[in-house]
């Protein structure tokens, strides 16, 4: 069979195809409403929902809930008649499949293992994702855009969230499902997996690029300066910029909020930065210490 058809029709991967279709559909629908509301507002009209009245729960809401429930149950029933849940060989601790993949919703995190050591990719970053999500309502102090779709009034919030959700979470999952084969090597979905293939990719550490041994004292010091400097610069430069251009916003935010936002943001951006370092410049570690490597 054509490898592309084969990989997208594997029972578990059908769910990913359904996810891609659903996410695309709802994203378009959401943004379409956002732009429409922005247009309404710009020409002085009320946004969608502003003039809503109360209606009875019975029947309008109960009716629509019933219809959706029936549609969803019908959909799941057809899916279940059509595709059988996979069952592989009985678990065998002595035979490691290659690749050994985590469940699909964690493949984004598994993909991060290419760029970060497990304590970062598997523990610290997921913890920060949850902390970051929990923090959103408390750090986003923009009162606008509450209760309707809009883009214009919440540009930064939406762009940052969308980057995290679509690129760092969903796209990495799709890559993990469709583009990672034996040895976690890259395969396009239409390529045949080759279990014999090895890729020798000499990686180096950042300081080795400028000829300094990363496991030496100077290497340690330079690495520390780069990592700590990245955080300090990432958190101080916007501060200086806002002090000059938008001091009211800064005063509204307060120092605690400002620091939390920038810490989370700088950490989030470290993910694409390390991906580029690794993929384009073949840099493995930035900072080697006796306890951990970054």
């Amino acid at each position: 069979m054509n490898p592309f058809i084969e990989i997208i029709t594997q029972p578990d991967n059908i769910a990913i195809v359904i996810m891609i279709v659903m996410v695309t559909f709802f994203t378009l629908w959401g943004f379409q409403q956002a732009f429409q509301n922005d247009k309404l507002k710009a020409s002085g009209y009320a946004v969608d929902g502003e003039l809503d009245k109360d209606v009875d729960t019975f029947k309008p809401l109960v009716r629509i809930e019933l219809i959706i429930s029936l549609v969803v149950m019908l959909f799941l029933t057809i899916w279940s008649i059509w595709v059988d849940a996979p069952l592989e060989e009985i678990a065998n601790p002595t035979i490691t499949p290659n690749p050994a993949k985590a469940p699909w919703y964690f493949l984004g995190l598994q993909e991060l293992l290419v760029y970060f050591d497990p304590w970062l990719a598997g523990v610290v970053l997921p913890t920060l994702i949850v902390v970051g999500l929990l923090a959103i309502p408390y750090i986003d102090i923009n009162p606008k855009g509450n209760g309707y779709y809009t883009f214009e009034e919440r540009k930064y919030a939406i762009v940052i969230f969308a980057f995290g959700f679509f690129i760092l979470w969903l796209l990495l999952i799709v890559i993990g499902v469709f583009d990672r084969g034996p040895g976690w090597l890259w395969y396009w979905p239409w390529e045949e997996w080759d279990h014999q293939r090895v890729v020798f990719e000499p990686t180096r550490d950042l300081t080795q690029v400028i000829g300094i041994e990363s496991r030496s004292i100077p290497g340690f010091i330079i690495g520390a300066i780069v990592v700590i400097g990245y955080y300090v610069a990432g958190m101080l430069l916007p501060l200086r910029h806002w002090r000059k251009n938008n001091p009211e916003l800064l005063a509204q935010l307060g120092m605690i909020r400002y620091n939390l936002i920038m810490f989370l943001f700088v950490t989030m951006m470290s993910v694409p930065i390390k991906m580029v370092l690794r993929l384009v410049f073949l840099v493995k570690y930035v900072w080697i210490t006796p306890w951990f490597n970054v």
Partner: protein, 254 residues
């Protein structure tokens, strides 16, 4: 026709179940909601935005429906399932070849599980896009984030139960991350200062052993079928309660 209607409705049994006749007036419509345990999760009147599909996409409700389907099919599967290394895999084969409707029960459970993970993420996206986490709904967003994590964990713990290669290695890959926890995992940074070994670290606590085995299967089973569903149900009711107490589905603020 009318006499059949009378026969069905004008007797002691029917009247003991349905207290009132339904007439299409305001009082009757309100009674239909708060006279019913399940419907009475809803207020009697709602904003139009709660009814319009284009606003909520129905995603929160669909997530809840998926959970209900999973609970029902999950309980069916429990009748056939032994959480032991010797029997778990054979039970899967029994479901496939012996148990009546075994195949469809298992299929429904697995696809509804994937479906729930997909729709809960889309629900979060919609809540974000409408800014519905803003005051006064900050806390309910937090409850939602915990529910999101619990949904992942439910699916994760369920994955091991068939005891096949797919689940076994997925759980091995996943729980190996526990071993990398700073301070508390034996491969994590600084753990040597706390004398952490493979036999007392985070992964050991997750698996009930240093690798995935019978104890891990039992732990997965109990988390999956009892502990996490219980916690989720409680949090879902807090979540729904708060949707109402925070003023119903969000709408443009003036």
């Amino acid at each position: 026709m009318n006499s059949l209607y009378d026969k069905v409705k004008k007797n002691l049994i029917w009247k003991s179940v349905f207290r009132r006749d339904y007439r299409d007036n305001a009082r009757s419509r309100a009674m239909a909601i708060f006279g019913n345990v399940f419907l009475h999760l809803h207020p009697v009147k709602v904003r139009e935005s709660a009814v319009k599909l284009r606003y909520t996409w129905g995603m929160g409700g669909i997530t809840f429906l998926a959970f209900i389907i999973l609970t029902i099919t999950g309980v069916v599967l429990m009748f056939y399932y032994h959480p032991t290394v010797d029997l778990a895999y054979l039970d899967m084969k029994d479901l496939e070849f012996q148990a009546p409707y075994g195949v469809i029960s298992r299929n429904l459970h697995r696809w509804a599980a994937h479906f729930m993970v997909i729709v809960v993420m889309i629900h979060m996206f919609r809540v974000f896009m409408t800014g519905s986490y803003k005051a006064p709904r900050q806390f309910n967003w937090g409850i939602g984030v915990i529910l999101l994590v619990l949904t992942f964990l439910l699916s994760f713990t369920g994955y091991l139960l068939p005891w096949d290669q797919l689940g076994f290695w997925a759980i091995t890959v996943g729980t190996n991350m526990g071993a990398a926890t700073p301070l508390l995992g034996f491969q994590g940074p600084f753990s040597e200062y706390l004398h952490i070994t493979p036999y007392n670290d985070v992964r050991f606590a997750l698996l009930g052993g240093a690798s995935v085995g019978g104890n891990a299967l039992l732990r997965s089973y109990i988390w999956h079928c009892i502990a996490i569903p219980l916690i989720s149900i409680i949090l879902m009711f807090v979540h729904f309660w708060r949707v109402r107490k925070d003023g119903g589905i969000s709408r443009p603020q003036h």
